[in-house]
Symmetry: C2
Subunit: 421 residues, 2 copies
């Protein structure tokens, strides 16, 4: 039954709802609950006072208190007995003044599915990573084999977090190639035979009975970089994944830019090899694009071998960069050539996008300043305006961390909707 007090509260809620037409008291109360929950989650592990939540949401204190009560009944909030600093316990007859989001009540998983590894992170509802599992994938693994590896890694990571996989609230995964996010389908994945068209998302949904999202891997990585990395909260940002493959995730105006056919940022297929003999074939049997063949991890390995610089097994180029850092002239010459090649391709992207800021991740980027110093030098004179080039601070986890963020978004409905825990 509405009282005058409730009417005031609903009037304030109208600001939150944007004045939508079909808003009854029930809908408004749900929106208030969602707003309070969002503010609490923003506070992270810290407790928050009712007055702070009222200020953050624009709701009245009674409205905040009512929302907190509902959230406690649903197990999403508990009240701290005392605040870290501040006045003593709340007055008798009124709800506690300090609330905390019970992030541990649910978990999501973020998955990085690549041709060489599967990495699963399990995080609580505050995005704190609780378990990680990495599984190497055998070279030449097929789509179905990769899918099996994903299931196994999800089960292992969940177990490490003390969960059954069916206890996950949402799962998001990133994978190379062109991905139809709406249909959860890989349209083109040159680096993984048999991966495109596989009904992996549908099978994961059937197995896990929770929302499952699929996106291009670097599109997820750029979200993580923008949220957690050195370029936090910049409006425009390009993230370049530089490993065996080369791809970029683009944020424009604070939002991911994917292109008309979800195929933006395909730097790996840019062709710098001078005039060709008629049309090229970007999709060769190895699935690699021209720029990847020029300066991907395998090409760097080949260059190092040819120059007599140290390398490891397979395409392991860490020894090359270690030797360069120690001043080995052969290694330094190879790093300089690699930086020059990469600068040529990156410059095309910089001239077209003028992003102001580029974060470089992926295996090759782990060389850090040993590589980025020469890269910045070779970029000079190739662009018309300055650009900041930095190494990712998230390392190998950036795709999986971006996936965790997506999964948290997908878990939102269960948090704010009428569903039971």
């Amino acid at each position: 039954m509405p009282t005058p007090g409730q009417e005031t509260e609903q009037g304030e809620s109208m600001q939150v709802s944007g004045g939508g037409a079909a808003t009854g008291p029930h809908v408004l109360r749900r929106m208030n609950v969602a707003a309070v929950l969002a503010a609490l989650r923003e506070a992270g592990a810290a407790t928050a006072r009712v007055t702070e939540l009222a200020a953050a949401t624009g709701l009245s204190r009674p409205a905040v208190t009512r929302a907190l009560t509902e959230l406690r009944e649903r197990g999403l909030v508990d009240f701290a007995p005392a605040a870290p600093a501040g006045p003593p316990a709340p007055q008798r007859g009124r709800p506690a003044q300090y609330a905390r989001f019970r992030a541990e009540v649910g978990h999501v998983a973020g998955v990085d599915i690549g041709p060489h590894k599967v990495l699963v992170l399990v995080a609580d509802l505050a995005g704190r990573v609780r378990a990680a599992h990495r599984a190497a994938v055998a070279p030449g693994a097929t789509g179905p084999e990769l899918f099996t590896a994903v299931r196994t890694a999800l089960t292992a990571a969940a177990a490490e977090a003390g969960l059954d996989p069916s206890g996950l609230w949402a799962v998001a995964a990133g994978t190379p190639g062109i991905v139809d996010r709406d249909r959860g389908e890989v349209l083109l994945a040159p680096s993984i035979p048999g991966w495109a068209g596989l009904p992996a998302v549908g099978e994961l949904r059937d197995w896990l009975r929770c929302p499952v999202l699929l996106d291009n891997d670097v599109n997820l990585a750029v979200l993580a970089e923008r949220r957690l990395g050195p370029a936090a909260d910049t409006d425009n940002l390009v993230f370049v994944q530089w490993g065996e493959r080369i791809g970029t995730g683009i944020v424009i105006g604070g939002r991911p830019y994917r292109g008309a056919s979800a195929a933006a940022g395909e730097l790996g297929f840019v062709d710098l090899d001078g005039p060709g003999d008629g049309p090229v074939e970007p999709l060769r049997p190895d699935g690699m694009g021209p720029f990847e063949r020029l300066v991907g991890a395998a090409a760097v390995h080949r260059l190092a071998v040819a120059a007599g610089a140290p390398v490891g097994e397979g395409h392991d180029i860490a020894p090359l960069f270690a030797a360069a850092a120690a001043g080995d002239p052969h290694a330094l010459a190879v790093v300089d050539e690699v930086a020059d090649r990469f600068a040529r391709g990156l410059a095309t992207l910089l001239l077209i996008l003028d992003p102001g800021r580029v974060v470089i991740g992926g295996g090759v980027s782990q060389a850090g300043e040993t590589l980025l110093g020469p890269l910045r030098r070779h970029l000079r004179g190739r662009t018309l305006v300055p650009v900041t080039v930095e190494a990712s601070a998230l390392g190998e986890r950036s795709v999986a961390l971006g996936a965790v963020r997506q999964a948290l978004g997908a878990a939102e409905e269960r948090l704010t909707g009428p569903a039971h825990l």
Copy 2:
């Protein structure tokens, strides 16, 4: 004095104002006037009924009528004696039912300032072009000489429209290079010596006593293409200006994308010439970028001369394309080579932006399908997803037409504000 009827009107106006806090009756009435005027201008040369305007604005009929009365008093609206089809003259004692925006009451100018020409279009407030003046600029003209040419062309075009230049309501101009729109300054204009840093906008403002805007030329062209061209109202669009210089204007999500330093879209500086000897020098004395040197109009002219294909004086390549269209094998071979070169550079942009749609303008594009056919063929296999490639329907006028649109925006304040006509 507010009456109950006026209060109703103000309540409705709140929807238009977005519920802003500092809105008194005066501000609200001005916003109603602006909304009615915008709806009338949308109708173009046609008359509009009060009921149509009420539906378009969400205002009540009395509010629309009051706004129309004010607009008539200010000379911006007249009432048609009879509608093209519909009921006869309005009832005695009520305002006429059919209103028309008097677009002829004011004029704006759009200016295309290039190294080789100045093109001025004078348009009425509905954007209809009333006069055009094109002045050739001598090769090697300096910034001050170019500025004099702009003044002369503005005066000539205004005169043709029956105006003194001081009668213009607003002027917008596009020019090559990197432009700081907020300060109205050219930061970098490699193709025009002495143009960067010139206080041209300030001098034009002092002379014309009206708003004067300056923007990068292709950024204006893409606005015109999106509004008037074959790609009307697509969300993502790339416009490539292909003449002596090569530049691109980018629309993403329906809005111009200019980059972090207003330097996005610099396709002309992309370097496809294979590995270089250390850092390149994009800013050579001729101010041309590597891709412009490879396939700009001058390069096309050189290729044609070398192949014995017909060309005209200077860099005139129209005879080349005419001969190719007539089947001349030498000309066809040159066109094929030109298309191949251009496809290589355009592909880098398509791989990074995936715009879905590209409109090609500028002098070279006037070859039409003779060039676009081979270009589409050479693009095949260079991109991962399809793209529509079309010639501009606006031809040489696209920059100036985009400038007219910008100028109309700048004239808005005079239309809706309290200023006298």
